[in-house]
Each structure stands twice: as C-alpha cells, then as structure tokens.
C-alpha cells in the first residue's frame, strides 16, 4: 500500500462533510438571497408599517425577561451555593425543572387560569368587585413573567456553576480590606462571575427572541411571530425573508456575545480554587424564608402547571381522550423525532470527527456552519427549507422529508454539543495504538473510536429526539396535511381554548422532557 491510509479514508469523509455543510447552509443562504433581491418596495413597506413596532416589542421583551431572570436566577443560585438549609440538595435540582415545561404549555395553562371566566378571574371578581380587571397574561408584563419563569434556570445553572468554582479568597481579601459583606457581592463576587451570568442571559435572550409557542398563544407581536404570520396569513415569502434575516442577525449577535463571554469565563476560572466554600448554616427563620422562596418559584413555574395538567388530563381521559387518534399523534411524534435524531447523528458525526482529527480551516468552518442552526428560530428554519424546496424540488413539498431536513438544521447544534466533546476526549493515541496492534483504518473506527464515543452519541441522540418532540413552529408550517404531532395538538387545542383536551399531550411532552433535562444538567453538574 503506497499512499497514506489516513488520507484515503479522509477523502470520502471530506466530501460527505462538504456536502452536508452545503445542505445545512443553502436554505439560509437562499432566504438571504430572497430578502436582498426582492422588491425594494417590500423593505420600505415593512419599515413604514410593522418593523419599528416589531423590533421594539422584541427588544423590550428580551430586556425585561433578562432583568427578571437575572434577579431570580442569580439570587437562587447564591442561596443554594452559600447557605445550608434542609432539603438544599433537592431544591438544587428542582429549580431546573421549569426547563422541562415548553413555553407554549406554560402559556396555555396561565392563559386559561387568568383568562376570562377562569378560576383566577372568578376569584378576582369576588374579591375586588365585578369591575376589577384581572392581570392579563397577554399583557407585556404577563408575557415577560411567563417567559422569565420558563428561562430563569439558564441563569441559575450558569451562575451556580460559576459560584461553585469561584475562589473564595477574593471575597475574603475584600472583607479584610474593610468592605462590608453586602458591598462585597456587588464589587467582587458579581464582577468575577459576570461572564457566566452574561452567558446565561444571552441564552435567555436567544430563547425569547426565537420563541414561537408562548408568543403565539398569548398573541404578543415579535419578529418570530411576524415571520409565521407573513408565511401563513399573507403568503409573502419575501417579507418573511426580510424579517427572518433581521431576526437571524439579532440572534447571531447574542450568540457571538455568549461565545465570547464563555471563552472569557474559561480564562477567569484558571485561577483555580484554593479554598472550598463554607456553606453558612441558617437558622429556622432563614431556612423557612429560603424554602418559601424556592417553593414559590418552583411552584408557579413548574408545580402548579404540572398539577393542572394532571388534573385536566384525568378529566380528559374520563371523556375518552386516549383514543386511537391520540395514539396516532404519539406515533407521529415518535416517528418524526426518531428520524430527525438519527439523520442528525449521521450528518453530524463526520463533521465532528473531521473537525477534531483534521482541524483544517475548511473542516472547522464546516463545523461552525453547522452550529449556525442555533441562530435560526423555528419559523425561520421552516421558511428557509420551504423556500428552497419549493424552488428546486417542489415535489417534496408536503412530505415528511422537508420536515426532517428542517429539524436537522435546527437541532444539529444541540447534538453536536454532545458529539464534539465525546470525540475530542478520545485521544488519537488510542487509534494509533490500535494501528500498531494490526488494525486497519476501518477496523479502528469500529473497534475503538465508535465504542468510545457511544455515550456522547446516545446523549446527543436523546437530546435531539426530545427537542424534536417539543418542536412547534417548523412542524406547524411544514407538516403534511393532517399529520399532527403531540406538540401540534397542544397548540391547536389550546388556541381553541379546549384546555382539557390539550392536557394529555402536554403532560406527555413534559414527562418525556425530563430525561433530556437530566442529561443536560448532569453534564453541566460535571463541568461545574
């Protein structure tokens, strides 16, 4: 054998990588092309009519949710890291649970509870008189609170991790220099963990500006919702394209910021931990206060909605909601999620492998391009795939294929985050050891590399499976006629205010999201 085996292996892989990257990038490139080559009048019309309001709504919501999540997330992280109270370990976990609740489920539960004729509405009128106005979940404040309840765990998780690895000596130095404890938090602790907190906030913002479920159920106008409306109401792909491009630029800005701060946070943590944290024992009053706060936050973000879902589900099951149609929805969801996760693994593996083993500029760029799916809100991914497919392969429109392509683009980054470290942890030495013991390249792959990355593999698959299960906007826009999934049922029933009928599907989604959450958090726990 004359040529390098390594080279002969990598060339087909190289081609596969380039082809998949092209597939991942082309839809976005195509809508960008549409947006800039469309009629200039469309730009002008959008700018004079809807755009200022949409931009303002989106930014204002992002800001208010950030403020709320910062207060809730940071204070809870501080309490569980610095204080010892009964049940602390349980609360540390429980505070992450709201992530298992898709925004549209939370929105629909509270829209019903506070809605006209709902339980809170009736109670409110009996207390404040018939003319009093119930606080509306559809208002700016209402939407902000609901989004914040769903996203504060991002800030909580990252702040907690940073506080745990923080070198306590810095704070002690401040105290020795005569700074009172309260000021120490502001002048020393917060600046030190700022990278982690900002990274958490960037995730929150990214989540808020790309959310479709809660926003659409609460009828709050943001850019993401507008993209959906342009596509379904007006069938105006150019306008939708323009809005999408703005949205992607906005998302990219926050993504870059998040990355930048994450790199900084690595730098900050190099100082190491010279002293472990001493948790302060708090007296009965303090313990009650902390437990009360944690219960309140967990209760309204997870406990109460989960209880309502359970209660309604029981009622719905009594009415015969678990019929063959329901089983059909479950099957559709499972089938789509399975296909999407498997395809994404097949597509993602060569990308991650090449980027780690042959980190040329080209391969790294391909990997980065795959991560760009992060900056694509669901409706935008759907629009991009739809526009490209109707232009070039129109016969695939209305098939499951188009839906799976959109899922892969949208969720591949989540999978890559498990695959990439898994491959990087396998040192090339192990593969080389296999070669010196007589293995051929392909045997090395089967006997050494794949068994070793299996865990990262499975984690990535499960994460993508469950994310697809919850996915709403792309499914809504691209599904074949009459092909309903669990998420679609929740949204449709909730839109029609059949809150009981929506409950079994919603409950199933929440229950299925728990393992994904467990995976995500345990990975975070380990790194922290």
């Amino acid at each position: 054998m004359v040529t390098t085996l390594r080279r002969s292996l990598s060339s087909p892989l190289q081609w596969i990588t380039l082809a998949t990257t092209a597939l991942l990038v082309s839809p976005v490139a195509y809508i960008t092309f549409l947006a800039f080559h469309g009629n200039a009048a469309v730009w002008r019309r959008l700018w004079t009519t809807r755009l200022p309001e949409l931009l303002w709504n989106t930014v204002a919501l992002a800001m208010s949710v950030s403020a709320l999540t910062f207060v809730v997330g940071f204070s809870l992280a501080w309490l569980v890291v610095r204080y010892e109270f009964p049940g602390r370990r349980i609360w540390e976990w429980a505070l992450v649970l709201p992530l298992a609740m898709p925004t549209y489920v939370l929105a629909y539960v509270y829209a019903h509870l506070f809605g006209m004729g709902g339980p809170v509405d009736q109670w409110w009128h009996s207390v404040f008189g018939p003319d009093a106005r119930t606080p509306a979940p559809q208002s700016f404040t209402g939407v902000s609170i609901i989004m914040a309840l769903d996203t504060f765990p991002f800030v909580y998780l990252l702040a907690r991790g940073a506080l745990l690895t923080l070198n306590v000596s810095y704070e002690e130095v401040a105290r020795v220099c005569g700074v009172p404890p309260w000021q120490t938090v502001w002048r020393v602790t917060l600046p030190l963990i700022r990278p982690a907190v900002v990274a958490g906030l960037a995730l929150v913002v990214l989540y808020v500006i790309s959310d479709f479920g809660a926003i659409s159920l609460l009828r709050y106008q943001t850019l993401t919702y507008a993209v959906y409306q342009q596509m379904t109401g007006r069938y105006d792909q150019t306008a939708a394209g323009i809005l999408s491009v703005l949205l992607v630029v906005m998302a990219l800005l926050f993504l870059v910021m998040e990355r930048w701060f994450r790199r900084r946070s690595r730098f900050y943590q190099t100082s190491g931990r010279y002293k472990t944290i001493q948790r302060r024992h708090c007296g009965p009053v303090g313990a009650w206060a902390i437990t009360g706060l944690a219960t309140l936050v967990c209760g309204i973000a997870f406990g109460l909605p989960a209880a309502m879902l359970l209660y309604w589900s029981v009622a719905a099951v009594d009415q015969g909601a678990l019929d063959t149609r329901f089983i059909g929805f479950v099957w559709n969801s499972a089938f789509l999620s399975c296909m999407a996760a498997s395809c994404a693994i097949v597509v993602g593996l060569p990308l991650a492998y090449l980027a780690s083993r042959r980190p040329t500029r080209l391969n790294l760029a391909c990997l980065q391009a795959a991560y760009a799916g992060y900056a694509l809100p669901g409706p935008v991914a759907a629009l991009a795939v739809l526009a490209l497919f109707t232009a070039f392969v129109p016969f695939l429109y209305g098939s499951v294929v188009i839906l799976i392509v959109a899922y892969v683009i949208h969720f591949l980054p989540a999978g890559l985050q498990s695959l990439e470290p898994a491959i990087q942890q396998v040192t090339p030495n192990l593969e080389e050891a296999g070669r010196t013991l007589g293995l051929r390249t392909r045997e090395t792959l089967w006997l050494i590399t794949l068994p070793l990355i299996r865990n990262g593999f499975v984690a990535g698959w499960v994460l993508m499976f469950l994310q697809t299960m919850k996915e709403l906007p792309a499914t809504l826009l691209l599904r074949p006629v009459g092909f309903d999934t669990l998420a679609i049922r929740v949204w449709l029933e909730a839109s029609e205010e059949y809150y009981q009928l929506a409950a079994p599907s919603a409950l199933l989604i929440v229950v299925l999201s728990l393992p994904a959450l467990l995976l995500l958090v345990s990975r975070d726990w380990r790194t922290a």
Binding site: L430, E432, T441
Partner: protein, 373 residues
Amino acid sequence: MEPRIGTWSPPSAFGEPAAGQEVILQLRNVSCGYETGRAAVSDISFSVRHGEVLCLLGPSGCGKTTILRAIAGFEPVTHGSISLSGQVVSSPNVLIPAEERHVGMVFQEYALFPHLRVGHNIAFGLRRVPRAQRNAVVEDLLKLIGLTGLERRYPHELSGGQQQRVALARALAPQPVLLLLDEPFSNLDPDMATRMRQDLHDLLKRTKTTAILVTHDHDEAFAMADRIAVLNHGRLEQFDVPEVIYHTPSTPFVADFVGHADFLPGMARGERICTEIGEFPNLKRLADGANVVVMIRPDDIHVVPDKTGNAHVVGRQFKGSENLYTVQLPSGQVLHSSEGSLHIFPVGTAVSLRILATHTVLFPTAENRDGPT
C-alpha cells in the same frame, strides 16, 4: 597542581554492541517535514541490531518523538529511508501503514483502551490467533509483568505503574520485531519510575526484545540503553554507547545535556593545553596559541583544603550521597566538584584543586567554533 592525566577508552565489551547480530532497523538520512505540533528532524542515520535497546535522548522539541512516530508509520518522511528487517517501509514515496509493520508501541499516556478489560487490552493485537493460544499468551504476559489475576479489571481501576505494565504487555503480545517506547516513565512518580526502569530493563533483556526508548532524562538513558542517540534541534549530535557519551561527548551540547559540565578556557602550547588550573594534553594537535575550552565534570575535580590555595568555596549543595561544591578561581571562573557526603568545608574555605580526569575533552571556543579544530 599537576593534573594526573591518562587516556580513556571505552570498555571493550561495549565496542560494537552485539556485533554480528542482524540489523533490525536502519535509518538512512531521514528527514521529516515540519507540521504543526511536531518538531522537524533532518538527516538522521542510525541502525539498531537484534536484542539491542536504543535510547533517543534530547530536550523537548528536539524531534525524538517525531523519529519514533516515523518509525511506527505515523509520520511520512520527506527525505531518506527507513528499513525494517531489510525492507524499506518509509521513504518519500513509500509509506507502509502502521498495522503492517509489526512494530509495538507504548505511548506516553499508555493509551489503554478504556472500554476494554486488562485481558482484552493485552489480547487486542492477537485477534487472528486461536482463542486457546490467545488466552495462554495473555496468561504468560500477565505473569511476566506480575499482574496475574487482574485481567478482569478496567484500566481506570489500575495504578499508574500497573497501567504502564499492561501497555507494555499489550505491545509485546503480538511479538513485534521492534518495540517503541515514548517517554514510558514520565507519568510515574520518581521512586516508581526507578523501580519500573529496572524491571523494564530486565524484561527487555530476558525476552531479547529490540527496543527504542525516547526520553529526556539522561539517567534513564544511561540505565536502560545499550546505545544512545543524542538529538538537538532535529539533528543527531552523537550516537554511541552510554560511557562514551558521558566521558567523551562530541559537542558542548551533549557534554552539558548528559550531566553537569564546566567549560574552562585554555590555550594550546605545543603538546599541552594551558588553563588556569593546570595543563592538559593537546590531543587534537591544535596550533600554538589556539583558544579552546576544556570540559570538566564535577567528579573529575577534588577540592583539598589548603591555606595557600587561591581558589575558594563559594557554595555547597548537600545531595545526600554527595556534596556538590561550587569553587571560584581567582579569575572569577566557577567550577564544580563532587565530594563525599562527609567531606564538609564551610563556604569561604581556601582550597586547591586536584584534577582526576582520565581523559580530556576539548571544544573550540565560541569565536572559532565554526572553523576547523
């Protein structure tokens, strides 16, 4: 102060190690190109005979690991050729893949497969051997490395030394023609490393294994090697038996790298080289007036307390089995001397020096180093 000077020649037993034995590995003018993270090497030639242990010695970044990887088949060569058992395996247009070279390798971090038990790790290179025979080989190797009964363990359940021995057994199992070891002791604590060094040396000799060992530690190289190749900046500085490398290094770099060395300036006068502490033979037949430096090792100098002596002790480092003295001459030149553990002289003592060198090593001075000597 008349130095006692003799001539030293390597013990005859080491003249040409295992002469007449078959040459296993031959490198002819090998160069490897520079790649990110790998040092380049150029024009390396040496050969290894059957049963011989060769050490590639040099500072980090000198290219010793690159040579090892080129022999294993992981680095292409840009110039020259590598032959294994008489067959060319690497040259600019030939690259036999690693799995067809029958070369065993022990990696610096051992690279034990974390998903396989000890027994399966050792048996990994024996997949084409019948099961009964395979089990017997694993059993024998476990006994050889003293880990009988641990074949059901996973690598993470072993200590560093045990992992290293398993890696060694795994590399030996397919009976490679040549064993490559990349800094095998660098991840062990010093006590452990000393013991493993002895064990490994015995094992290699007992199994008559031909081996190349990469290290940056000259003690390790002296303890293990039949012959040593000293490398610097990708070039071969000297290739010889350990005794010659230590006593008659061919370059100042080798002199300094394989042990403590002082360089004393001197000038040629007829048959002699005159220095501040006495005269040495002009072995290189340098012309009168030529400037040279004389290499002196601490064990070549004795200090003797002498009220009339013009040298002074300026420092003492107690090392347990010896005292390392720093002595300053009137000119300011500093030399080192190794004395017995009980010979203690306070700093400031006036001393005279007694030279015990049985051999003289001369190097050209920096200004005429490039010229002929």
